[in-house]
Structures are given as structure tokens and as C-alpha cells.
């Protein structure tokens, strides 16, 4: 089998002319680039156009080098095109498409920045004018390339590829795809490296034990004095308490809903309920935070106690509970559905009622799945940031009960680990910033632990 077996394929005259002319033009461009390169190397007084507004100070030598590279590429493509090689066609196509995209993006930027950037409404006529001008501009620059792309796509069948080239493409694609497959782990490694190196400074200067056991967080006095303190206990307590509250409120509700959806409700109800609950997972956390600020805070303020602001652990727990409902519900429902039919049938056949079957047979059988759902919900609650900043009050002190009743602890303000980072990172510097990165590392490790427990539970259930 010869590499170019269908070389002899008959080509229409139009295709013949189009390809040869295009190749000739490309060759001319290549030649021009070479000439430009020589001109750049030899000319004494260059026009200043070439040096304006460049990010780096490029000398003429660099421009000449770039010209040579372009010339090489273009003349290679011209030669390949002349001989109907597919790689040349692909090279040309990708170049043209990049060119077209560049102009497309420029035009979009231009149109949007005239319509949307003002403090007053733009009249409809000038919008039309801008859009029209944009289109005209686009056609002026990208019209010819668009036609070329279309024609090059049409002549597809006359271009050829050798087996060796095919093999080369296959191998290249395989390695590129392997690279993309490794992107996730590369990001994970980068996250570890960058958060740990930033946090290392605080471990060195402040000390691991001081940060993990200290009960006072006072970064403000870092400048000048040595009285700054970086104890993370208040934030750890805040995170654990708000998550605990969320579990107390959210989990019973979620499991009840899951039982309803999996066992009790008719299909029609399920069709409405399930997408509605799933919608909760998609709502942005800032919207929950806003709801907590505007609706829940005044409601909680009704409890008449001194220093009760409405913001605090109770508000945060309620918001978090709503946020974990979709996670816990959907995983618990899956767990209920995964219980083998025979269990249910056996229980019913022994004379148990439907409810007894649910409580005594299905619930215990689905136990590990439900537990995994709860733990994943906890993972989500631990990582929540913006809604927490908005409703928890962000006080840096260790939360204490407002009165003698220990339950009023939940009415006090607090701060979570996530909130600690988000509130202070934008202005922190030095040891303070490093301590915030350490907070992030701590949070990451906590969530990693929680998630791996959940994954173990789910896996053991699958194997059982």
C-alpha cells in the first residue's frame, strides 16, 4: 500500500485553481515575511510604530526572529497546500479561525461596552447604530477569512493524509488527552503547594499549638507591637456549633422528605417535589444570606433578650439547614430506593403495616447510605462561606450564652473558619495573611476527612 494511494484522484478544475492560487498567495506572504525580517535586521532608522505600547521591551532582533518563524510556517503551509496535504489545510483553517474569533471578541466587547456601561439608558437608535457598525466592522476584517474557511471545508475530500501522519496524530492526541486527564490532580497539587507555602510562615512564627489552642483572635495589633494573637478556637467552635445546629434542624426534615418521596407519595407529587428540592441546591448562597438578613434576622430579634441582634448562630444554623436539605434528601432517597425489594415484601408478607416496614426494615437497611448523606451535608455546611458572613455576625469572641439558659448560646454572634478567611483576606498582610491561609488548610483537612468517611460508607454499601 503506497502512502498516497489516491493521489491520482480526479479533481475539478475549480478546486485545482482555488488551491494553487491560495498556495501561491501564501508563498508570497512567506516571501514578504522574509523580506520584512531582513529589513528589520538591516534598517537603521525604524518607524516607531513597532515599539509602541508593548508590554515588554522587544528589540528589532526579536521582531525579525518572529518574522522568520512566521515566514517558515507560512511557506511550509503553502508547499503542503500546493501538494494537497491535509495537515496544511488544517493549519490554515485553525489560523483563520483564530483570526476570526479575535475580531468577533473585539466587536462583542465594543458593542457591550457602549450599551451596558453607562449611568443612563442608551436610546434604542444608537444601540442599533452601534450593532450595525459592529457588524460592518466585523465583515470588513473577517469577511474574507470566513469565505476562505467555508471553501476550505468544502474541498475536504481532495486532501490526503499518509498513514504515518495519521499515526502521528493518534499518538499526539493520546498524550494531549492524558495531559488533560491529569489536570485535576495538577490543580490539587497546586492547591496544596500554594496554600501550604503561604501557611508555612505562620506555623514557623506563630506556632501550631498557639493557633490551634489559642482562644483569642486579635490580628489588628500586628503592626509595631507583639500583642497580636492568632487563636483559632473561637472560629472552630463557631463552625462546629453552626453545623451542629444545621444538622439538628435539617436532617430530620430531609429524612422525612426522603421517606415521603421514596415510599409514601404518589408519583405526581414526586414529580413536583423533587425538582423543587433540587432547586434549593442551585440557589446562590448569597441569596440565602440575603434572606437571612432581611427576613430571619427581624424574626429572631422578636425573642426579647438583651444583646439579641437577630444575627448569630441560630440564624446561621437555619440557613445552613436549608442549604443541606437537597444533599441529604437526594442521597437518603437513593439509599431507600437501593434497599432490595425482597426486604420490603418479606416484611409486608409477615403482616407488618407499610409504616412498620419503613421504620423497622427499610430505614435500618438504608442506614449507611443515610449516614453518608448526612456526612456529605456536614461537608457542605463546613465549607459554606458567604451566607455565613452575612448572617452569623462575625464577632471574633468565643460565643457564650446570653443569659443563664445555655440554649441562648445560639442567639449569640460567632464566626466560622470560612468567614474568618473571607472577611480578612483582602487586606491582611504578613503573619496575619499566613494565619488565614493556615485557617484554609485546617478547613481543607477537616472537609477531606469528612468526605472520605462519607465515601467509605457509600463504597461499603455498594459492595455489601
Amino acid at each position: 500500500m503506497t502512502p498516497y494511494q489516491d493521489q491520482s484522484m480526479k479533481k475539478p478544475l475549480v478546486v485545482e485553481i482555488f488551491t494553487k492560487v491560495l498556495a501561491g498567495l501564501l508563498g508570497a506572504v512567506g516571501l514578504a515575511a522574509v523580506l520584512l525580517a531582513f529589513y528589520l535586521l538591516t534598517a537603521q532608522n525604524l518607524p516607531t510604530v513597532l515599539q509602541q505600547e508593548s508590554l515588554l521591551e522587544f528589540s528589532n532582533g526579536y521582531y525579525a526572529l518572529a518574522s522568520f518563524v512566521v515566514a517558515g510556517l507560512v511557506s511550509m503551509a503553502a508547499r503542503g497546500l500546493w501538494r494537497y496535504r491535509n495537515w496544511a489545510r488544517m493549519l490554515l483553517l485553525s489560523g483563520l479561525i483564530i483570526f476570526i474569533l479575535y475580531y468577533f471578541i473585539t466587536i462583542i466587547f465594543m458593542i457591550l461596552s457602549t450599551i451596558f456601561a453607562g449611568l443612563t439608558l442608551v436610546p434604542i437608535l444608537s444601540i442599533l447604530r452601534v450593532v450595525g457598525m459592529g457588524l460592518l466592522f466585523f465583515l470588513m476584517y473577517a469577511g474574507l477569512p470566513l469565505v476562505l474557511v467555508y471553501l476550505l471545508l468544502r474541498v475536504d475530500q481532495y486532501f490526503i493524509e499518509s498513514n504515518r501522519q495519521r499515526e502521528f496524530i493518534e499518538v499526539t492526541v493520546r498524550y494531549v488527552l492524558l495531559g488533560t486527564a491529569l489536570s485535576a490532580i495538577i490543580v490539587v497539587i497546586l492547591i496544596f503547594v500554594f496554600t501550604l507555602t503561604e501557611a508555612w510562615d505562620s506555623i514557623q512564627t506563630i506556632g501550631l499549638d498557639t493557633m490551634l489552642l489559642g482562644t483569642i483572635w486579635r490580628p489588628g495589633s500586628i503592626i509595631g507591637t507583639d500583642r497580636a494573637q492568632f487563636g483559632l478556637i473561637p472560629m472552630i467552635v463557631g463552625t462546629i456549633l453552626s453545623t451542629f445546629g444545621a444538622v439538628i434542624i435539617g436532617v430530620p426534615l430531609s429524612i422525612g422528605t426522603a421517606i415521603l418521596l421514596a415510599e409514601v407519595a404518589p408519583p405526581a407529587v414526586r414529580e413536583v417535589f423533587r425538582p423543587a428540592v433540587e432547586l434549593l441546591a442551585g440557589i446562590p448562597s448569597v441569596v440565602y444570606g440575603l434572606f437571612g438578613m432581611v427576613v430571619l434576622a427581624p424574626l429572631i430579634r422578636q425573642i426579647d433578650l438583651p444583646r439579641n441582634t437577630g444575627f448569630g448562630l441560630l440564624n446561621a444554623s437555619i440557613i445552613l439547614a436549608v442549604m443541606i436539605i437537597p444533599t441529604v434528601t437526594s442521597i437518603a432517597e437513593d439509599a431507600f430506593r437501593a434497599v432490595p425489594r425482597e426486604y420490603k415484601e418479606g416484611s409486608l408478607a409477615l403482616g407488618g403495616t407499610h409504616w412498620q416496614t419503613i421504620i423497622r426494615t427499610i430505614l435500618p437497611a438504608a442506614k449507611s447510605g443515610i449516614l453518608a448523606g448526612i456526612i456529605l451535608g456536614i461537608g457542605r455546611a463546613l465549607g459554606e462561606t458567604m451566607a455565613m458572613i452575612m448572617v452569623i455576625g462575625n464577632s471574633i469572641a468565643l460565643p457564650r450564652p446570653l443569659t443563664n439558659n445555655p440554649l441562648t448560646l445560639f442567639l449569640n454572634t460567632a464566626r466560622t473558619l470560612t468567614g474568618n478567611i473571607a472577611v480578612e483576606i483582602n487586606y491582611a498582610a504578613g503573619a496575619h495573611r499566613s494565619a488565614l491561609f493556615f485557617t484554609g488548610v485546617l478547613l481543607f483537612l477537616m472537609i477531606l476527612l469528612v468526605n472520605s468517611v462519607a465515601r467509605l460508607l457509600l463504597r461499603s454499601r455498594k459492595e455489601a
Partner: protein, 304 residues
Amino acid sequence: MERATFISQAKTDKVKRLNKVSQTFGYFLVWACGIGAIAVVFWIIGYVLNQGFQVINYEFLFTRPAGGVSGEGGISTTIVSTVYLVVLTLVIATPLGVGAGVYLVEYAGDAVKESKLVAFLVQVARTGVEILAGVPSIVFGLFGFALFVLYLRFGFSLLSASLSGAALVLPTIIRTSEEALLTVPRSYREGSLSLGATRWHTIFNVILPTALPGIVTGIVLSVGRIIAETAIFWVTLGGSFYLPQSVMHSGRSLALHVYMLASETRAFDKAMGTAAILIITIILLNLSINLISRRLTARISGTR
């Protein structure tokens, strides 16, 4: 003898009645939970939409925020910034994610047999996806802040934000692409390969188009996550309310605008309006995912 049966009969009657009562009570409890959850959904969405629609009008949508503590002005630049952010993030994350999905489904099986190194790399890659999926968003933010904003000196910019956002949605796209590719029947691959197409041609021209609806579902999910995400962009995007002129400029996404209005100004009504726009967008995205998956199941069951 007779007496004994009578007693047990009475006992079972009593137990039966008790069971009946407990069943009714249980059903009531479960329904209460379900209706409670739904009520919460409708309460939040209804409240935000109701409050939000009172400020939404043309002027609100097409003028930029005025800045300052009053929180006056519209949200036009934040809409455009959000669109830029979503597009740029997807441009970065989609090729990586779909490519990874293709490799893990189509190539990993054979590659594992060929060499130990590749087998190890595939294992590592899978672990990486699992870990990345569990990373809390503020840690992505810290990472983006340390790597892109400070170390690479991109500053608070669209580029920093979308690179960090791409790290956030990468596991979502990889997982959904994998699932979508696994649903493509074996016979499609065999048919294409037996016609003499190379492996890459088969993947590009047969397998990817068949798996497209599933892949698109993953991308739409990612759009939702980027729109809803705030913590990452709070520490990488900055918060300028002007329209970003290039990828190196700072901007403000819709969700970030809600946060900034609520925490730095008194304009809760404007924040509600912005939140209403966000909720409408999320509802539309969820509907489109449902539509795609319904069409997908219809097509799969149609071919069988």
C-alpha cells in the same frame, strides 16, 4: 381453650388498631416534613421574586451601579461581567474536562494494560478528580488568590477569577462527560473502527456527537455553579462596578453584587432585585437541564 383464643383475638385487634394509628401518625409526620421543605423553597423564592420585581425595570437592567454607600443605580455591568466570567471559565474548563473524560473512558482501559506508569497515572488522575470535587470553595479562592493574583501578578482580574472558577467546575465537567461517554453503545465504536476510521476520528465524529447532550448537561451545571459562586470571586475578581475592558480588568459578578449591596450599603431592595435575576437564571438553567435529559432518555429508549 375458647377463652384463650378470645383474649388473643382482642389483643391482636388492639395491636392492629395501634398499628393503624401509628401508621397514620407516621404518614402525617412524613407529609409534614415534605410539605415543610417545599414551603421553605416557595417561601424563599417567592419572597425574593416578589421583593425583587418591585425594583426591576429597564433602567435597572441597562444602567451601571452608581457606586458609593447609597447603592443607587442598576446592574448592567454586573450582568455583562457575569457573562464574561462564565464564558471565559468555560473556555478554560471545557476542553480540559471533556478531554479528561474522553481519556478516562476511551483510552485508560487499554493504556493501563500497556504500561505500569500509565496505569499509575490513571489511578492518580481519578483520585485527583475525587479530591478536587470535595474542596470547599473558599479554599479555591485562597488558591487563586495566592497563585494567580499574587504569584503570577494577574491582580484582581477576570483572568484570575476564571482560572480559579475553572478549577472549581473541572470535576463537574469531567464526571458528567465520563457518564455521558459511558452511555454510548459499544456497537457505535466498533462500527466506526471497522469502517477504517482511526481512533481519534471515531471519538471526534461518532462518540462525542452521540454523548453531546450529556456533556452539555455538565456544562450547563457548571454555568449554574459559576453564577452562584461568590466566595472565590470575592477574593479573585475584586469588585469594580465598571465594565471590564479586558481580561486583566477587575469586575463584579451578579452574586458578588448582591453581597456587596447587602453588606456595604443600605440598598436591600436593589440587592433583592439582583437576587431575583439570579434566581430566575438558575430556574431557567434547571429547566433546560431537565429538558436535555428528557430528550436524551427519549432518544436512548427510541433507538432500542
